[in-house]
């Protein structure tokens, strides 16, 4: 193209210009190829999720057919006898996750408030990074720490003290094992803390300063300003963070498997060993010999997938709402997590 127009003295004839234009690429074909390429990748993600769901339904079909709805409400898990009821695992998963939210949630919200409202600006980045580093430590390392540090501490000090103080409640009765629902809930609380803290902090930072100034102008104390004007404004994002944390707790596998005790029984006591959906897959899948046992474990995975999808979809919708409202103010290093 450049040869005909620039490389030669004098003006090119119209015929030459037309010929050059005919040869020049408009990029239409390249554009089409490119769009199909990257569009294909995007559609690939959809197909992948479809494949995950389909394959798991197919693999678990023998168990679904055999047990029907009874699978979810059945209490007996006996691979040798061929009885598969997932209720103990569902119970263990829900109790340990709720416990994690009850313990980790307030601490995470407190941290987020401290990070956005109290800490000097120069320290904010460093402290935020430290809190988020909690999310970078691998699950299996938390498990190792849980086995050798947390569980012995619970058995020798925390659980006896709780029993002395609150032993009249069934929650805090029974022998102190160390490993059990309480240990699982605590380890999960630590693991979901950075998620909740990061999302809540971003939501709080996205609150316009007018809110704070108006509240202070009314004579509110610093805390009244935070609790009365800032937190309520950011509540959607904070809720999203809590639900995201819940999703993480429900699906967490290794650390919980290592400290929860792995006993498929429903017990009122938090000290007693229990079992979660993810843990039973981790422990039994490679050792399952009968096809029905494998199918039952995949069906547990399917239940887990369903719960995770619902919880995460809910969290994302809430967080998207706050991102749209907060605009670029919500942008921060932790946004992608």
């Amino acid at each position: 193209m450049t040869e005909t127009t620039v490389g030669r003295p004098g003006r090119p004839s119209p015929r030459e210009i037309r010929a050059a234009l005919g040869r020049a690429s408009t990029g239409r074909r390249g554009d089409a190829v490119w769009a199909i390429l990257v569009g294909g990748c995007a559609v690939g993600i959809l197909l992948l999720v479809l494949a995950i769901t389909t394959l798991m339904v197919v693999e678990s079909w023998p168990a679904v057919q055999r047990f029907g709805f009874g699978f979810i409400v059945g209490q007996r898990w006996d691979p040798v006898g061929g009885h598969f009821g997932a209720l103990p695992f569902l119970y263990g998963t829900v109790v340990s996750s709720v416990l994690a939210l009850l313990i980790g949630g307030p601490v995470a919200l407190g941290s987020a408030i401290a990070l956005s409202e109290l800490v000097p600006r120069q320290l904010r980045g460093l402290l935020s990074a430290l809190v988020e580093l909690l999310a970078a430590i691998p699950s299996v390392v938390y498990g190792l720490w849980g086995i050798f540090v947390l569980a012995p501490l619970l058995r020798s000090a925390v659980e006896p003290a709780l029993r002395t103080a609150l032993g009249f409640l069934p929650l805090f009765s029974g022998p102190a094992y160390g490993v059990g629902t309480l240990a699982g809930g605590l380890i999960l609380a630590i693991m979901i803390l950075p998620t909740i803290a990061a999302v809540s902090r971003d939501a709080l930072l996205a609150v316009p300063n007018d809110q704070r100034e108006a509240m202070l102008a009314l004579g509110a104390t610093h805390w009244e300003m935070v609790w009365g004007a800032v937190v309520p404004y950011a509540r959607t994002g904070i809720l999203g963070g809590f639900i995201l944390g819940l999703g993480r707790a429900l699906g967490e596998t290794m650390a919980v498997t290592m400290v929860i005790g792995n006993r498929p029984a429903i017990s009122a006591s938090l000290f007693a060993p229990s079992y979660t959906l993810a843990s039973v897959i981790a422990n039994e899948f490679t050792e399952a010999t009968s096809d029905l046992h494998l199918a039952a474990l995949v069906e547990i995975g399917l239940v887990l997938l369903g719960v995770a999808v619902v919880v995460n979809a809910l969290a994302r919708l809430l967080i998207w709402q706050i991102e749209r409202a907060g605009g670029s103010a919500a942008a921060g290093p932790g946004r992608g997590r």
């Binding site: 390249g30 554009d31 490119w34 769009a35 990257v38 569009g39 990748c41 995007a42 690939g44 993600i45 959809l46 992948l48 999720v49 995950i52 394959l55 798991m56 197919v58 307030p106 601490v107 995470a108 407190g110 941290s111 401290a114 990070l115 402290l127 809190v131 580093l133 909690l134 970078a136 430590i137 691998p138 699950s139 299996v140 390392v141 498990g143 190792l144 720490w145 086995i147 540090v149 004579g219 104390t221 009244e224 995201l244 993480r248 429900l250 699906g251 596998t253 290794m254 993810a278 897959i281 981790a282 899948f285 995949v298 887990l304 995770a308 995460n312 979809a313 994302r316 290093p333 992608g336």
Partner: protein
């Protein structure tokens, strides 16, 4: 007599008490981080030596030995994950940033976000059903594939965000010169966003390097060296798990040493990325 501006004492107490609790919560979070990292460092340093880094595991009762094959295995698995997850993730991210205004894009974005929250053990089940069952063997490839699937949505979303940050003026300038759109993306937008994309990729790598659950029934673990992608392969997190739940003191020591190596690897990636990102943001 009270002046009109004085604050009732209980409001003052509540103020200091509750703000103090928030600071205490932040302190507790940082303290837990330091406690875990400190414990891993102290315990791990005791078991870490040249033997650990160069030998394969020994049988029970035979002290010594190491996790060299597991360290290399983790690197191989992460390598496969990068090959599987990175190209598709970057492609999808480009689509969302450059073409993503329609309904399809919203759906893809949503599905990618939900996929980020799908428990990793479920992805392991998927890889098992897709690759282990038909190939009739646990394999490095199945493990790497599972890790790649976990990487995929993370890479997609970070790529989208970095490509979006490329100024519109750059794109418009190129388009005004008659450059085709695909060339504008490939030659202008991608190089400009490259550091952001690399950051996202490394963060995703840091995340999957420590994953254990999806490897349990895909990569499976191996006590020996293995270079075949169709054979079971050792991985650092798997080896830590097996040693941690074993009853042997010597294995516990090795589990701590392995944790130190794993945490070091992951934190190096995470902190390194943070520093790179910060330099870009504030250094112009």
């Amino acid at each position: 007599m009270r002046t009109p501006l004085s604050i009732a004492w209980h409001r003052k107490v509540a103020n200091w008490l509750l703000l103090g609790l928030c600071l205490a919560a932040l302190g507790a979070a940082v303290a837990v981080l330091l406690a875990v990292l400190g414990y891993v460092t102290v315990q791990g340093a005791g078991g870490l030596n040249l033997d650990f880094l160069t030998n394969t595991p020994r049988p029970v009762g035979d002290s010594g030995g190491g996790m060299a094959n597991a360290i290399v295995g983790t690197l191989i698995l992460v390598g496969i994950a990068v090959v599987v997850g990175l190209p598709v993730g970057i492609g999808a991210g480009i689509y969302l940033a450059e073409y993503g205004r329609g309904r399809l894009a919203t759906v893809v974005r949503f599905v990618a976000d939900v996929l980020t929250g799908v428990p990793s053990i479920t992805i392991g089940l998927f890889a098992y059903a897709l690759l282990v069952v038909p190939l009739k063997s646990f394999s490095a490839f199945a493990g790497g594939f599972a890790l790649g699937v976990i990487m995929l949505p993370v890479v997609t979303r970070t790529t989208e965000e970095s490509v979006r940050l490329v100024p519109a003026s750059l794109r418009e300038a190129a388009l005004a010169l008659g450059v085709p759109r695909w060339k504008v993306i490939a030659r202008i937008a991608l190089p400009t966003a490259l550091s952001g994309i690399v950051t996202g990729a490394l963060l995703a790598v840091a995340r999957v390097a420590g994953e254990t659950a999806p490897l349990l029934f895909t990569a499976f673990g191996n006590q020996f060296w293995s270079w075949s992608l169709r054979q079971p392969i050792a991985a650092l997190p798997l080896q830590i798990f097996v040693y941690a739940i074993s009853p042997y003191d010597d294995w516990h020591r090795q589990a701590w040493a392995g944790s130190l190596v794993l945490v070091g690897l992951v934190l190096l990636l995470s902190i390194g990325m943070r520093l790179v990102v910060r330099r870009q943001r504030y250094g112009g």
